[in-house]
């Protein structure tokens, strides 16, 4: 391998350390979780897929409702646990809010028709309990995990990571936005 080749490989290796970078913040309340979601909207690009995980009531839907507000969607986001897929549109944007809580197995998941939305034009896809589809995604995606804070019933810990260089860059940008909005670790 020539000098350029090694440099290139090293650069790629260095970049690879930026992949899956974990960004962890503390949210003091549901309102702060929603605000974090609103800031998250600012780093999104059409075709993005975001998987959300964490216990019941930990803030997944609240976060997404903040993102929707940040994208200019006026409607109230209610839980798609029963309907499985809720679709919101705002001019050309299509926001898919899915919840796989009630689904068992990949057949069930594919039967919902989710595939046509993943990475589609002008579409942003958010999937609660999305770990179930993780291994079948062809594109890079972000993962957000929500946890209760045992010392404070209103507080949550939110961890954000993404696969691929594009998400790596977006998460760095997000980190700055969250820091400026006083979200600490």
């Amino acid at each position: 391998m020539g000098k350029t080749g090694k440099a290139q490989a090293a650069k790629e290796r260095a970049l690879s350390l930026v992949y899956f970078k974990d960004l962890t913040i503390n949210s003091a309340s549901p309102q702060k979780t929603k605000e974090a979601g609103r800031l998250f909207a600012r780093i999104l690009e059409y075709g993005d897929v975001v998987l959300l995980g964490g216990e019941l009531g930990a803030g997944k839907t609240t976060f997404i409702s903040g993102t929707a507000a940040g994208l200019g969607i006026d409607e109230n986001l209610s839980s798609p646990s029963f309907t499985i897929l809720n679709i919101y549109t705002k001019s050309k944007l299509c926001l898919v809010h899915a919840d796989f809580y009630r689904l068992d197995g990949i057949d069930d998941i594919l039967n919902t028709g989710i595939e046509q939305y993943l990475g589609a034009k002008n579409t942003l896809t958010f999937i609660e309990w999305g770990e179930k589809i993780k291994d079948f995604l062809k594109k890079d995606f972000a993962q957000i995990y929500f946890e209760y804070n045992l010392l404070d019933k209103n507080a949550r810990t939110i961890s954000i990571k993404g696969s691929g260089p594009a998400w790596g860059k977006k998460i760095i940008k997000l980190g700055k936005l969250l820091k400026n909005a006083h979200f600490g670790n």
């Binding site: 019941l56 029963f82 499985i84 897929l85 069930d108």
Partner: protein, 351 residues
């Protein structure tokens, strides 16, 4: 809506003795079909998850499981005709839910309805699933009439409606997060009580003391007619993290009874408030959660003390079913409100 209307059969309404509507319902988990005569006589009401259906067709379609609408739809429609002792050629029109619900599921029912409409040259009516729930009681009490407050409370929906003199329906309140039925299901699952959560919690709570644990009544003082149940869900979950003993055998009945009462309290409070505000004297409650025994008794008690007439359909008509879809379709049919073959499905809807 002119477009490609199917050619109407040469049966004009005056001569027709009975109007038979085939109802199809596939908005969420269950595949349902029903034949209803003149909007009030249920000749058949078939739901795929019923034991009898499983037993009869289990061999043909091994998994009549949730959302297997494509596999189940033909069987369920044929079974509805069979049980009604009716041939497809006797059906006047087809009524089907096209919103709100799971898009993939809705498409199966709507596709079947369009196919029947086109091939048999009969009209079809695409109706709102929630509006069908509001009409579910007309199957029992056709003379009920308008001017009532309707609460539709299920796994997927919790909404309050005002139905005026001219049958104009207005949504006056809704959940801002979880539906009540969803709260029951999720907490039951969290507590390891099984699925579906509603009936399990209902049974267990009947043995418990609802005043033992303090549970918030979210948004009860919000001043509006909206609901919120996710705060109640997190309050319970947090409690179990702080005091794990609460999950013990001798506490759990009281825990779920307290939880159930918090939900029922808010539903009763806001529904009667809505009724007072509109000056109506009738309340209708429908949707899967209307099967809950505590809800039925608390609503009845309050209705008694306030002098309000309360209507809650029998349990089978509270759950998702196609008879209510056929009933609503009947009224659309006689008004000539037919749908175009190009009609789409929607995951959410305004009523």
């Amino acid at each position: 809506m002119q477009g490609n209307l199917p050619l109407l059969k040469k049966n004009n309404l005056k001569n027709q003795e009975k109007i038979l509507i085939l109802g199809i319902e596939t908005s969420c988990d269950d595949t349902c079909a029903s034949v209803v005569e003149d909007g009030k006589v249920i000749l058949s009401n078939v739901i795929a998850s019923q034991h009898e259906i499983h037993g009869k067709y289990g061999g043909v379609v091994p998994e009549l499981a949730s959302r297997r609408h494509v596999e189940a739809i033909d069987i369920i429609i044929n079974e509805a005709l069979l049980q009604a002792k009716i041939k497809m050629s006797q059906i006047s029109a087809v009524s089907v839910s096209n919103r709100p619900g799971l898009i993939g599921s809705l498409l199966v029912g709507v596709g079947a309805a369009k196919a029947i409409s086109y091939s048999k040259k009969i009209p079809f009516m695409a109706v709102n699933h929630l509006k069908a729930h509001l009409f579910s009681n007309f199957l029992e009490v056709p003379e009920m009439g308008p001017c009532f407050t309707g609460l539709i409370v299920s796994g997927g929906h919790t909404s309050l409606y005002s139905v005026g003199q001219n049958w104009e329906i207005k949504e006056v309140g809704h959940t801002v997060d979880d539906a009540a039925g969803e709260a029951f299901d999720k907490i039951a699952r969290f507590l390891g009580l099984g699925y579906p959560g509603g009936p399990v919690i209902d049974r267990l709570a009947s043995k418990g003391n609802p005043s033992r644990f303090e549970m918030p009544r979210p948004m009860i003082e919000s001043g509006d007619l909206n609901f919120s149940f996710s705060g109640l869900k997190t309050a319970l979950i947090y409690k179990t993290k702080k005091e794990p003993k609460i999950l013990d055998e001798n506490n759990i009945a009281d825990l779920v009874a307290s939880f159930q009462d918090a939900i029922v309290d808010v539903l009763v409070h806001k529904t009667f408030k809505a009724c007072r505000q509109s000056g109506f004297e009738k309340i209708l409650v429908s949707g899967g959660v209307a099967a809950n025994s505590r809800l039925r008794s608390m609503f009845a008690q309050k209705a008694d003390s306030e002098g309000i007439k309360l209507y809650i359909p029998p349990i089978k008509l509270c759950m998702d079913n196609a008879a209510m879809v056929a009933c609503l379709g009947y009224y659309d049919y006689i008004a000539g409100n037919f749908s175009d073959l190009s009609v789409e499905v929607y995951s959410r809807s305004d009523i």
